[in-house]
């Protein structure tokens, strides 16, 4: 049963590398962002002796490396799904022996795994050259990667729920614009929650967005077993809740599916 989805992921990965040059060029943007922030955090560190809750300029650069790797590593399937819903093309998946949402998840993971691997390699190189290494052991790294995998699955479910809203609304692009901006702020893209004012950090922690970027990035830079366990548990809760939402949206959407006949 799961073998077919594994092969969907494999083919998706292959499709992504069909244009290897374009794929690699996409990562240049990621390296550029890191470079800009390396300069910013270095200046901040020199002028004010900046350090919050153990996050100095070096940790902040490595934190950004991890959060941006996730932010830019997630496959962007939402426009395609939005189109499939609006044009009725989603219907053509129904008479195949697989589940649409799982097919999309497998395809998303095929592309995401590849982009993440590349982003981590590039990001680690830039951060290493710019600010030097941070102390990470293999077990902590594995734990952070597990948390990142949960985070990316969470992102998939949020994006899928927003895409499926195309069954009811004309255009889902504004939702994704808002989601992107909320990830910047409540997700903790540029800085960890420790740097945030308390009130904002409290709001951010109450949302699933915090578990998409902040949790895995913080674990990578500052591993803490209690935080790891609580983050993993909250991710599991959000994944379960959003899975139910996606399943409900999908089954309601398919019922009202109105494919135009020819």
């Amino acid at each position: 049963m799961t073998a077919k989805y594994f092969h969907v992921a494999r083919v998706s990965m292959r499709a992504r590398t069909a244009y290897l040059a374009d794929f690699l060029l996409g990562s240049v943007f990621y390296a550029l962002i890191l470079y800009v922030f390396v300069q910013l955090w270095s200046v901040l560190g020199r002028t004010r002796g900046f350090a919050v809750e153990g996050f100095g300029p070096r940790e902040l650069v490595w934190y950004l490396m991890a959060s941006e790797a996730i932010m830019l590593g997630r496959a962007r399937f939402e426009q395609e799904t939005d189109e499939e819903v609006k044009t009725g093309a989603i219907a053509y998946y129904l008479n195949k022996p697989y589940r649409y949402v799982l097919f999309k998840l497998a395809s998303y993971w095929g592309e995401t795994a590849l982009k993440m691997a590349l982003n981590i390699a590039i990001g680690a190189t830039v951060a290493l050259l710019a600010v030097g290494p941070i102390r990470v052991n293999a077990a902590h790294l594995l734990a952070a990667l597990a948390c990142a995998a949960m985070a990316l699955t969470l992102n998939f479910l949020i994006s899928m729920a927003l895409s499926l809203s195309a069954f009811w609304v004309e255009d889902t692009a504004p939702f994704f614009w808002i989601y992107g901006k909320l990830l910047f702020v409540l997700g903790g893209l540029f800085a960890p929650m420790e740097v945030y004012p308390d009130a904002l950090a409290r709001v951010a922690r109450a949302t699933p967005l915090n578990y998409v970027l902040y949790a895995p990035a913080r674990l990578f830079v500052q591993f803490d077993m209690d935080f790891f366990m609580s983050a993993l548990m909250m991710q599991a809760v959000w994944i379960a809740a959003l899975s139910l939402l996606v399943m409900a949206l999908y089954s309601m959407g398919v019922k009202r599916l109105n494919v135009n006949g020819g």
Binding site: A3, V11, Y19, A91, N95, N258
Partner: protein
């Protein structure tokens, strides 16, 4: 191999589909009204159609745009829920158990591709083998056979985006046959193809039906597909089945007009007769369109011979396109009355 007529592949009874179409008045006020109190119009896409298809049969399901062809095919493949009625395909109700049906049928939608656009066809075939749980040795044998039949060898490793439309359609049909379906739904399989590619696709469909006894349910705007592939034709118009007959009977029974080409021994100035339209007249050569409901061929020949001696004559049926256009034109009620 089972003979046509032994087993029913498709059984449909009173199948109906009503779509709800939202309507919006123009302008900003219309947009606001559409949110506050949406106006919905019902469109009857398919209206209580009933028919059976035997296993191994090749059937053409034709009709003008918006007649309900694709909606019917989508209900039969489990894509759409009907509003009313029953249908079974190979004993399975498509919309209730579409996953089970998926392994027994193949679908080709001429305007939708199942091939991965940036990858060579061999990657899609390999993925489909996993999706349909085809054991590796079976898949290899099946693939070799299909590559051989459809002559795919030379472009199996070329990205789909670089294939011609004809090559792509050969791959689409081969992909839909990989899991050995017993019923193949073809929705406009020759759309956009040139004459040579159309001929090749039709020959492949014929061969597949002959060799494997696959039932073919074909919708097409191209009358050539119907004439060259199918013995039976069903015509749907405004969601109703207005004709279910053999292709030969369609031509025989619904042919009101005959085309008479005649070469006379001597030139004549003009030819006029009730029920006869002169399509072309050049000295001794005439091309006449005869409405046989109004004037018999005998009468036309007698009238011609009153003007001059006949040197040569041919009497032909008009093209089938014209026959079908005529049936569409008569409308559902009249055609049903004429059956």
């Amino acid at each position: 191999m089972r003979q046509v007529g032994d087993v029913r592949a498709i059984e449909v009874s009173g199948l109906t589909k009503v779509f709800e179409v939202r309507e919006k008045s123009p302008g900003l006020a219309g947009s606001v009204r559409a949110i506050v109190s949406p106006s919905v119009r019902e469109v009857q896409a398919v209206n209580g159609i009933s028919f059976q298809v035997d296993e191994g049969e090749m059937l053409a399901f034709i009709g003008p745009n918006g007649a309900g062809k694709s909606t019917t095919i989508k209900m039969l493949t489990g894509i759409l829920y009907p509003t009313q009625g029953r249908a079974t395909v190979l004993g399975v109700t498509p919309w209730e158990d579409r996953q089970r049906l998926a392994g027994k049928i193949g679908c080709v939608f001429g305007q939708r591709s199942q091939l991965w656009y940036h990858l060579p066809p061999c990657d899609t075939f390999e993925l489909l083998a996993h999706v349909y749980d085809i054991p590796k040795p079976v898949y290899c044998d099946r693939l070799n056979m299909l590559v051989d039949w459809f002559e795919l060898g030379e472009f199996m490793r070329t990205p789909v985006r670089k294939l011609s439309l004809g090559q792509r359609m050969r791959c689409e049909i081969a992909a839909s046959l990989l899991h050995g379906p017993r019923v193949l739904f073809l929705d406009e399989p020759t759309i956009g193809l040139d004459v040579v590619a159309k001929r090749a696709i039709r020959e492949l469909i014929r061969q597949m039906n002959r060799e494997e006894g696959v039932t073919v349910f074909l919708t097409s705007h191209d009358v050539g597909d119907m004439e060259e592939l199918c013995r039976r034709v069903m015509i749907i118009s405004h969601g109703e089945l207005i004709l279910d007959t053999s292709v030969s009977a369609l031509r025989r029974d619904y042919l009101r007009f005959k085309i008479v080409r005649v070469r006379l021994a001597d030139a004549i100035d003009r030819f006029e007769m009730r029920g006869v339209t002169v399509a072309k007249h050049k000295q001794t050569n005439l091309k006449l369109s005869v409405d046989t409901d109004v004037a018999s061929i005998d009468d036309v020949l007698t009238e011609l011979m009153r003007h001059a001696r006949i040197a040569d004559i041919t009497i032909a049926d008009p093209p089938t396109e014209q026959v079908i256009a005529d049936i569409y034109g008569r409308g559902a009620s009249e055609a049903l009355g004429g059956r």
